[in-house]
C-alpha cells in the first residue's frame, strides 16, 4: 500500500478486490480442468437445455403461477444479503480512531452492497424474463423496474438487518431476524399486490424505499460500537463463499450462539443408571444433539431410511430396514471416534471399558429409537396391506427394530473393541522393535 496516495475509497476497493481474489483462490483448488470439463460444462449444457426447452414449450402448470411470484422470488433472493464494510480485525489498532476514514469506508460499503443487490436482482430477473414477458405479459421496462425496486428493497433490508443484529445477541437475534424477514416479505408481497391491483407501477414502492434507505444509511454512519459486528460479518461472508468447498474439512466448528444451551440447559440426566459408561454416553448424546449439523444429518438419515422402508417392495423394505440400522451404527461409530479426538475429550486417560461401553450406550441412545421408528413404518405397511391381525405388526415391528438394533449394537462393540486391542498390540510390538533397533544401533 503506497501511503501517500491511499484514501478510504481506494483502501476499501483494494479490500474488495482482495476479498474476491481470496475467494477465487479457494475455488480454484477444486475447479481444475477435469471438474470443469466433466461436471461444470455438462451441468451448464444440460441445465441450459432444460431451461430453453421449458421456455419454448412451457409446462402446463406455468399458467397457474400467480403474477406476484417473480416479485416474491426476487425478494426472497435479495433478503439473504448483509451490509458489507470490509472491516478487518487490524483496523481496531488505529484506523477506527479516525471517524472520517471509517465513515467514508462504510459509505463505500453501502455502494458495494447496493451494487451487489442490483447485480443479483438483474441476474435473477434475466433468468425469469421469458416467463415474465411471455406468460405474465410484462414489458421489459416493467421487469427492469422490478429488478431495481427489488435491489432497493434488498439494500434497505441489509441496513435493517444490520441494526437488528447489532442490537440483539443469541436467540433474541435469531427470533428478531426471522420476524423482521417475514414481516418485510409479507409487507412487500402485500404492497406490490395492491399496486398491481390498482394498476400502478412499482416506482410507487421506490418512493418509500429511497427515503427509508437514506435514513437508515445516515443512522448507520453515525452508529458507534459496530466494529466487532462488522468483523464478524466479514468473517461470515468469506466463510459463506468457501463453505461448500471446505465442507469435508470438518475442522472449523462454530461455537454456540447462546450463552447457555437451548437443549438440556441444566445438564439433566438421560440415563437412570449412573456408571461411567452411562455418564459419558449422556455427555456425548447432549453434545451431539446440540450440534445443528449433526441433527440435520440425523434427520436426513432417518428420512432416507423412512423413504427406503416405506417405498420399497415389502421384502426389500425388511432388508433396507436391517441395512439402515447397520449403517446408522456404523455412522454413529464414526461420530463417536471423531468426538473422542476433540482436544478436551482427549485430555483424559480413557479406560478401554469406559471408551467402548460408553460408545455402546451412546449409540443406543440415538440408534434404537430410529430403528424402532423404521420398524413402526414396516409394521404400518404390513397393517395397511393385510388389515385385521396384520395391524399387530405395528406393535411387533418397532419392538423387533429395537431388538435388532440392540443386538447389532452389542456385536459392533465386541468387534470394535477387538479391533482396538489388536491395534494396540501391534503398536506396542512396533515400539518395542523400534527401541530394540535403536539399542542395537
Amino acid at each position: 500500500m503506497s501511503g501517500g496516495r491511499m484514501n478510504p475509497m481506494l483502501l476499501t476497493l483494494e479490500r474488495i478486490v482482495s476479498f474476491w481474489r481470496k475467494v477465487w483462490k479457494g475455488w480454484r483448488l477444486v475447479l481444475d480442468w477435469t471438474v470443469l470439463l466433466y461436471i461444470v460444462l455438462p451441468a451448464l449444457w444440460i441445465g441450459g437445455g432444460i431451461y430453453t426447452e421449458s421456455m419454448r414449450q412451457p409446462p402446463p402448470w406455468v399458467d397457474m403461477i400467480p403474477a406476484t411470484t417473480p416479485i416474491l422470488v426476487l425478494a426472497v433472493t435479495l433478503l439473504r444479503g448483509r451490509l458489507r464494510t470490509f472491516a478487518e480485525p487490524g483496523d481496531g489498532l488505529f484506523l477506527r480512531n479516525n471517524r472520517s476514514w471509517t465513515a467514508r469506508m462504510i459509505a463505500v460499503g453501502f455502494f458495494y452492497t447496493l451494487a451487489a443487490r442490483l447485480l443479483t436482482a438483474l441476474t435473477v430477473t434475466a433468468v425469469m424474463l421469458p416467463l415474465a414477458t411471455s406468460r405474465l405479459g410484462w414489458t421489459d421496462g416493467q421487469c427492469l423496474i422490478l429488478a431495481v425496486s427489488s435491489a432497493l428493497l434488498g439494500f434497505v433490508w441489509t441496513l435493517a438487518r444490520d441494526r437488528v443484529e447489532r442490537r440483539w445477541t443469541g436467540w433474541r437475534r435469531t427470533v428478531a431476524n426471522a420476524t423482521a424477514r417475514i414481516a418485510v416479505l409479507a409487507g412487500w408481497g402485500f404492497g406490490t399486490g395492491l399496486l398491481f391491483q390498482a394498476g400502478r407501477p412499482l416506482l410507487y414502492a421506490d418512493a418509500v424505499l429511497v427515503p427509508l434507505a437514506i435514513w437508515l444509511a445516515w443512522r448507520r454512519l453515525s452508529a458507534s460500537g459496530a466494529f466487532a459486528h462488522e468483523v464478524d460479518v466479514e468473517r461470515d461472508a468469506y466463510a459463506a463463499c468457501v463453505r461448500w468447498i471446505l465442507m469435508e474439512a470438518g475442522e472449523v466448528v462454530n461455537p454456540p450462539s447462546t450463552k447457555r444451551p437451548l437443549l438440556f440447559p441444566k445438564s439433566g440426566r438421560l440415563f437412570r443408571r449412573r456408571e461411567a459408561r452411562q455418564r459419558v454416553a449422556e455427555l456425548w448424546l447432549r453434545a451431539t444433539l446440540r450440534d445443528p449439523s449433526m441433527v440435520r444429518s440425523l434427520l436426513v438419515l432417518t428420512g432416507a431410511g423412512s423413504a427406503a422402508v416405506w417405498l420399497s417392495p415389502a421384502w426389500l423394505a425388511v432388508i433396507a430396514w436391517v441395512g439402515m440400522v447397520a449403517l446408522t451404527i456404523l455412522w454413529l461409530h464414526g461420530q463417536w471416534n471423531q468426538w473422542v479426538t476433540e482436544r478436551y475429550i482427549a485430555l483424559f486417560d480413557w479406560r478401554d471399558e469406559t471408551l467402548h461401553k460408553g460408545e455402546e450406550s451412546g449409540r443406543m441412545g440415538i440408534g434404537l429409537p430410529i430403528a424402532a421408528f423404521w420398524g413402526l413404518l414396516v409394521g404400518l405397511r404390513f397393517g395397511i396391506q393385510h388389515g385385521g391381525y396384520g395391524w399387530l405388526a405395528a406393535i411387533a415391528a418397532p419392538a423387533a427394530g429395537w431388538a435388532i438394533a440392540w443386538f447389532a449394537n452389542a456385536r459392533a462393540t465386541d468387534w470394535y473393541g477387538m479391533r482396538a486391542r489388536v491395534k494396540a498390540q501391534l503398536e506396542a510390538a512396533r515400539r518395542t522393535k523400534e527401541a530394540e533397533a535403536h539399542e542395537a544401533g
Binding site: S267, R274, R286, Y344
Partner: protein, 253 residues
C-alpha cells in the same frame, strides 16, 4: 530442603516428535511430594516437550519415569497420565459442553462418582467464583475465566502431580492468589507441582527447586543456591541473572 523419597523420578535419554531427531537428550530430575519445582528455560529450550513427554503425548520417547513412593521403577506413559493433572497455558475446552459438563466428563473418565463430584466441585467453583456460571458454555467466557475452568478441572481430579504451564498468564491478581492458595492446599495433601514460567521473580518466590532447561538438556538444577553455584554467581544474585548467565550461548551446556 525436602529429604523425602521422590514422588517421581524422570530420566529421559532421548525424546522428540520424530524418530532420529531428538529434541531432548539426557534430561533427569525428580520431584518430591508437596514440592513446587520450576521448569525454566528460554523459548524453544524443550520445556513444553518435557511436559508433553510426561503426559504421554510424545511419539518418540526413550526414558523412564519411576514413582518410588509407590515402589514402581518404571511406569507406562498411559498409567502416568492418570496421576497427573495438566493445566495448559491456553485453555482447552469443548464448545458443546457447559462448565458443569466439563467437570462431569473429567469425573466420569477419572472414576470419580457423582457424589464426589458434587462434594469436590462446590468449594472449587466458589473459590474461583464460577458457581453462578456452571450451566453456561465456557467457550463464551473471557480468557481468564476459561483458565479458571481448567484449574477447577485439574483440582477436581486430586492428582499426585500438577503440571502447570505458564500459570500467571491470563489470570487476574486475585485469581493468581486463589490458584496459589489452592496449590498450597494440594501440597499439604502431598501433591507436587511442576510449573513452567517466564516470570522468573515469581518463580524465585514460589518454587522450592528449579530445573533449568537449555538446548534440550539440563543446564542446572537444584535449589536457588545450587543454581547460583552453577552460574558462578555470588549469594543474593536473583534467579533472573543466574538464568541469563546459564542460558547465554556457549555457557548453557
Amino acid at each position: 530442603m525436602n529429604e523425602q523419597r521422590p514422588l517421581m523420578e524422570v530420566e529421559i535419554r532421548e525424546a522428540g516428535y520424530e524418530s532420529g531427531k531428538p529434541i531432548l537428550r539426557d534430561v533427569a530430575f525428580d520431584i518430591r511430594p508437596g514440592e513446587r519445582v520450576g521448569l525454566l528455560g528460554p523459548n524453544g529450550a524443550g520445556k513444553s516437550t518435557i511436559m508433553k513427554g510426561l503426559l504421554g503425548q510424545l511419539p518418540h520417547w526413550r526414558g523412564t519415569v519411576a514413582w518410588p513412593g509407590r515402589g514402581e521403577a518404571g511406569v507406562r506413559q498411559r498409567e502416568m497420565s492418570s496421576r497427573i493433572a495438566y493445566i495448559p497455558e491456553q485453555p482447552i475446552l469443548y464448545e458443546r459442553f457447559t462448565l458443569w459438563e466439563h467437570l462431569q466428563l473429567a469425573a466420569a473418565v477419572s472414576g470419580i462418582s457423582e457424589a464426589q463430584l458434587r462434594e469436590r466441585s462446590a468449594p472449587l467453583l466458589r473459590r474461583f467464583r464460577l458457581d453462578r456460571a456452571r450451566h453456561d458454555y465456557p467457550i463464551r467466557f473471557s480468557k481468564g475465566m476459561q483458565q479458571k475452568v481448567m484449574l477447577v478441572v485439574a483440582f477436581l481430579l486430586e492428582p499426585e502431580l500438577f503440571l502447570v504451564d505458564e500459570p500467571f498468564i491470563g489470570l487476574d491478581p486475585a485469581a493468581v492468589m486463589e490458584l496459589l492458595e489452592a496449590l498450597d492446599e494440594e501440597r499439604r495433601r502431598g501433591a507436587a507441582v511442576l510449573l513452567t514460567t517466564h516470570v522468573l521473580d515469581s518463580a524465585e518466590r514460589l518454587c522450592d527447586r528449579f530445573v533449568l532447561v537449555h538446548a534440550g538438556g539440563v543446564a542446572a538444577k537444584g535449589t536457588l543456591p545450587d543454581i547460583r553455584a552453577a552460574a558462578g554467581s555470588p549469594d543474593g544474585t536473583p534467579l533472573f541473572d543466574c538464568f541469563r548467565a546459564l542460558t547465554t550461548e556457549g555457557t548453557g551446556s
